[in-house]
């Protein structure tokens, strides 16, 4: 804030030296066929080659061919341009399939772009996965060296940081045990720890923080915070909007392979929650003055993220201001997860709501929600009112999106992959003392 003018001046005099990553009209095309059946057999290629001339002969008669070919291609990334300044931490957010991972893969040189280019200045470290190249038969110590080398560390560098890596992972006792005997938590801790000690000038990270138990995730976020605080350039792909807000100064929002937002992280997250997550383009917050107001969870205001425990029931309320009569009115309530998947889409039927007609007035809408058993994480919820005018014209009004922070504990047995975390009651009783052989 204080250095804003200063910044401006430096950018003018020394623009080139200030940019760490410059992405210019970057594009990546995949052939859908090539993507789904990733490799082909020689026979297929031979048949295709043999058939190709025939197809060419037929081409004048069947003109649709070129179109068919084009339809088989998708641009995972198209015309993407942005710049990242040195020392800037940028969150890359977007739905699944928006092109986030493709962007990161191109910038880390794993795959080549189809169009455009990117200029990068500085030593790049990329982290698309933790524990890449870990071999189950090798010990923790051996894997630390192997993994470090794969991530681009020098042997001397790994040796110097070795104790720190092991201490951070909390696996001192088992460092000379093959990692196949590790619990999944230990394995992930060691894997992340190696990666966390990479010290590149530019760090590209893909959602690696979503591993391990909550305590370890906190620790990882802390480590990421250190990295950004040290003034390194970071590109951070994540679904964890809270983490993006916390760790990044700015954000890039991707949608269908294109940049739809570039600016401060807080605004980027808001933009993503509001528009990208919404999906439907034709919905408005107001229809001739009819609108939703004050969406509350358990009576708390809607500005901050609402916290609930996954195992507890809760109540969502909102005010609905109707200016003119809605015919065939339906109230809808929707919950999405952070990846943009719709988990709940509840619709009232007309019998419940005054014969489906909603006259002008101020309404109070409430939803009693039983325990949803959602796993801990970030969700969004909102209301919708759909219906018709007396003239028959369709109309719909959507409420603002409220972020719901579901709290709870996950232990480290891969539960984070599930959608639900219900509190189940197990029983185990021995029926017989020994097996009969």
């Amino acid at each position: 804030m204080s250095g804003n003018d200063d910044d401006q001046a430096r950018r003018q005099t020394d623009l080139d030296n200030d940019i760490a990553i410059k992405v210019e009209r970057l594009g990546k095309r995949y052939r859908i066929g090539a993507r789904q059946e990733s490799y082909r057999t020689l026979r297929e290629t031979l048949t295709e080659t043999a058939v190709a001339p025939l197809r060419a002969l037929r081409a004048p008669f069947a003109r649709g061919n070129g179109h068919a070919r084009r339809a088989n291609e998708i641009w995972a990334l198209k015309d993407v341009s942005f710049e990242v300044r040195r020392g800037e931490a940028v969150g890359v957010i977007g739905r699944n399939g928006a092109g986030k991972s493709t962007l990161l893969k191109i910038l880390s040189r794993i795959t080549e772009p189809t169009a455009g280019y990117a200029d990068i200045e500085g030593r790049v470290g990329s982290l698309l996965e933790v524990g890449t190249g870990f071999h189950p038969e090798l010990t923790g110590r051996e894997n630390t060296y192997l993994n470090g080398a794969i991530l681009g560390m020098r042997r001397a560098e790994i040796a110097r940081k070795f104790d720190e890596i092991v201490a951070f992972a909390e696996v001192e006792k088992f460092i000379d045990t093959p990692v196949k005997h590790y619990s999944s938590g230990m394995y992930l801790r060691l894997a992340f720890s190696v990666a966390a000690h990479l010290e590149p000038e530019i760090l590209l990270v893909d959602e690696v923080l979503a591993v391990g138990d909550m305590a370890f995730q906190k620790k990882c976020l802390g480590k990421m915070g250190d990295v950004t605080a040290e003034g390194r350039t970071v590109l951070f792909v994540s679904h964890n909007l809270g983490a993006v807000k916390e760790l990044c100064q700015s954000a890039v929002v991707l949608k269908d392979g294109a940049v739809v937002f570039r600016g401060p992280a807080v605004e980027g997250v808001a933009y993503y929650s509001r528009d990208t997550l919404a999906g439907d383009a034709d919905e408005g917050l107001s229809d001739r003055g009819t609108r939703w107001r004050e969406v509350r969870v358990n009576g708390a205001g809607s500005t901050a993220a609402q916290e609930i425990a996954g195992v507890e029931p809760f109540r969502v309320e909102a005010c609905l201001e109707v200016r003119d009569t809605f015919v065939e009115a339906r109230l809808k309530w929707r919950v999405d997860d952070a990846a943009g998947n719709t988990l709940i889409y509840n619709v009232t039927n007309n019998a419940e709501l005054a014969a489906g007609e909603l006259g002008a007035g101020l309404y109070r809408v409430g939803v009693e929600v039983p325990p949803l058993w959602l796993k801990p994480g970030i969700y969004t919820l909102f209301f919708k009112l759909t219906g018709r005018r007396a003239s028959g014209e369709e109309r719909r009004v959507t409420s603002e999106r409220v972020t719901l922070n579901v709290t709870g504990r996950l232990n480290n047995h891969g539960q984070d992959r599930a959608v639900l975390a219900p509190p189940l009651r197990w029983s185990l009783a021995r029926e017989r003392a020994a097996t009969v052989s």
Partner: protein
């Protein structure tokens, strides 16, 4: 620990940073340079990949490194029985078992290197999809890891020479060159096949067949001296013919002094290696998307 790294980084940020070069990421077209300098900067990774392959190779096997000997040794026994005893195959005036084994040691190195490197890219798919490094390191490491097996089998060869009283001559100094020739051949063919394997999984089935065919097309069970000139020289088109005859000459002193055959073999091996490397680099950009 944390403060130490903080201070260091602070110093880095405050001090003048070395002028880093700008790396441009853009689509490549057609044939591209080998970027051997970059492979060299990644030599530590290459070292660790070789080291991993060696470490893991005999884990959970009952006989361990003995397998490095069993394969060539028992082939030699079978060859000695059928070709040496029953077939009365000439063996350039050295005992047939030595004659066969001196050829089988480099052959086994070549055959294993070829099959390991052909499958190396597909086997490292998870690495290729998640991390950047010069992809050449993968098949190169697969071939290099076979050197340990070669050394073990070689010790047995030395033992056999002592047993049969075969004395090596000064030609032995040439041996590393023939080993290099075997390595170049294995890597050259391995580069072609590993890159093809990414696209066409048929390669997996082709390799054992090719290896078997190649074994009998190489003068292992029989001497190349059976062939008259000019066919003897033409035989050098199979680079392994030069390797095997060179090994025998350098070690057990057969009358196969390097000549036209070995020169032709060396030329073919170099061609195979360079063409393989360029083809590999050309296909490299598709690996992460297709594998």
């Amino acid at each position: 620990m944390a403060t130490a790294s903080g201070i260091k980084l602070g110093a880095r940020a405050a001090g003048e940073r070395p002028q880093a070069t700008i790396m441009r990421i853009a689509p490549s077209r057609g044939w591209v340079s080998l970027k051997l300098r970059e492979v060299w900067t990644y030599r530590e990774l290459l070292y660790f990949l070789v080291w991993r392959d060696i470490k893991v190779r005999y884990k959970q096997t009952a006989l361990g490194a003995a397998w490095a000997v069993i394969q060539p040794f028992f082939t030699m026994v079978v060859f000695s029985l059928f070709f040496g005893r029953l077939g009365r195959m000439p063996s350039d005036n050295v005992p047939y078992p030595i004659f066969a084994y001196a050829a089988l040691v480099p052959w086994t190195f070549f055959a294993n290197g070829l099959s390991e490197s052909s499958n190396s890219l597909v086997g490292s798919a998870n690495l290729i999809k998640k991390v950047y490094f010069p992809r050449l390191a993968v098949p190169v490491a697969a071939v290099l890891a076979g050197l340990v097996d070669f050394a073990v089998a070689f010790v047995v060869l030395v033992g056999m020479m002592l047993y049969y009283g075969v004395q090596p001559t000064a030609h032995v100094l040439w041996l590393p060159l023939f080993l290099l020739l075997a390595l170049a051949t294995a890597l050259g063919a391995g580069l072609w096949l590993s890159a093809l394997n990414v696209q066409f999984r048929d390669v997996r089935y082709v390799v054992p067949f090719v290896t078997q065919f190649w074994l009998f097309a190489t003068p292992i069970a029989y001497p190349s001296s059976l062939l008259p000139e000019p066919w003897h020289t033409v035989y050098g088109l199979n680079p392994m013919a030069g390797v095997v005859e060179g090994f025998r000459w350098a070690l057990v002193g057969t009358n196969t002094r390097p000549g036209a055959l070995v020169a032709l073999s060396a030329l073919v091996a170099v061609l195979l290696l360079t063409s393989g490397a360029f083809y590999f680099r050309r296909m490299e950009k598709t690996f992460a998307d297709v594998v």
